[in-house]
Symmetry: C2
Subunit: 262 residues, 2 copies
């Protein structure tokens, strides 16, 4: 299978890598700035670096849009693709139909989604076999082709439609983005009192392990909120009372935990 990748960010870097590892040919990589595309394809011996969106002479059947969410519509509008090719985006946050902007230009296209449910950092390889790939396509033939590609690089391939993917994205915001922010706030609280955040890492690690092993993270919830320890809650509120923002987060999450276990 021959694919072209539009974008040269973290995800594009990982895709180029994993496709190359599995002998899937990346024919083209596009970036507005040519040197970005060059920087992620240095080791490929036969790749066409593009800084324009005219792919009319491309040997590829599949075009993977790996650009930021905000750029998807704009790039889709400007794409010139060969007839009957498949165009997918890689976003958890956008519905498949944002790619209709490309279909207006070329109605012979099939659109779809190839969403890796993972966070990527440039230069740090991940074990792609463990990365869930969420697939969607307009028709079964294209879905089958995406599935074949996906299963050659990952053991965790699922058909997920746009509505489900949006919900998965919300779940990821809670489970990952908000969680990370809780750690940031924890470090801020420690730093402000000249306490070393390193002291908390063994407990954080153990909490993480327990939650991942539990049938439900709720089954291993601890802390003053779950045991209705109002005197400790008041003591905590008093400690952080001068930071209204922090207090409001504390109150909101304490209430949410209390309501869960009521």
């Amino acid at each position: 299978m021959t694919v072209s990748i539009i974008g040269a960010g973290n995800l594009a870097w990982h895709l180029v890598n994993v496709f190359e590892e599995h002998d899937l040919r990346v024919a083209e990589v596009y970036s507005r700035k040519k040197k970005n595309a060059e920087s992620i394809t240095g080791y490929l011996y036969d790749v066409n670096i593009k800084s324009d969106l005219d792919f009319s002479n491309s040997p590829s059947k599949l075009f993977i849009l790996a650009v930021s969410d905000d750029a998807i519509a704009e790039v889709a509008k400007a794409l010139i693709l060969p007839n009957d090719s498949i165009l997918v985006h890689t976003s958890g946050g956008k519905a498949m139909d944002v790619l209709n902007f490309a279909k207006y230009q070329n109605p012979s296209l099939t659109i779809g989604v190839f969403y890796p449910l993972m966070t990527f950092s440039k230069g740090i390889k991940v074990d792609f076999k463990q990365v869930p790939l969420c697939l969607e396509a307009e028709n079964d033939v294209s879905l089958a082709l995406l599935r074949k590609l996906a299963m050659s690089i990952s053991d965790k391939v699922d058909n997920i439609d746009s509505e489900q993917r949006a919900i998965l994205h919300v779940a990821a915001v809670f489970s990952c983005n908000f969680t990370n922010h809780m750690w940031a706030l924890g470090k801020e609280i420690a730093d402000d009192a000249s306490l070393d955040f390193e002291m908390l890492k063994p407990l954080i690690t153990e909490t993480f392990k327990k939650a991942m092993k539990a049938e439900h993270p709720a089954n291993v919830q601890t802390g003053p909120a779950v045991r209705d320890d109002f005197s400790t809650i008041e003591k905590h509120r008093n400690i952080i009372k001068e930071d209204e923002e922090l207090l409001s987060v504390y109150d909101s999450l304490t209430k949410s935990i209390q309501d869960w276990y009521q």
Copy 2:
């Protein structure tokens, strides 16, 4: 060193274990229900199981109160200890001076705190060498004795006074309790849409690893809030709008993240 442990819960079980491993003698274990104390000391050949709080004939110099936060004051009031002994509690949430209830009965006591910053589950051993032990005592002699005991079982021993410990406890609530609740909410959102929470675990794991490795978790924050992606935020709010509680958590944390990166 000879110690006595008052309590027979998860922490008591771990302390009995780790002291025994390091040839520190546990002379007595108290539990209101004798069989609880027996269940955690089955392998000790020379321990006095007690269900009353009269320790006047104890061979121990150090008494470790490992009961729930709510029970500390009540048990402290009822304790009868040998003169000149040291009494510590093991709570992150309570100040040292809650043990003054014991000093009223016996002014010759020295009070202190021996707080392991960790979550314990009965039956699952932890590597105590990695557990931060936070120490406090009324005087330097007792602190030195606590320190000697602590350093024989852990590589991470710190002097932390009651005020710092309270702040550390707040930081732990954010970093651990609230984080765990975020995972619970993430699972609930996934479950409600018949999506498998397992799909999110690789991303959660990667997020955890990144945050722990980063100089500051805030440096690796991702998601719609940090990039001011208002259309995704509105889409998410729309998805969860029927659950007021969840929406209020979403709004509170989104605002907190936005304010952080402003």
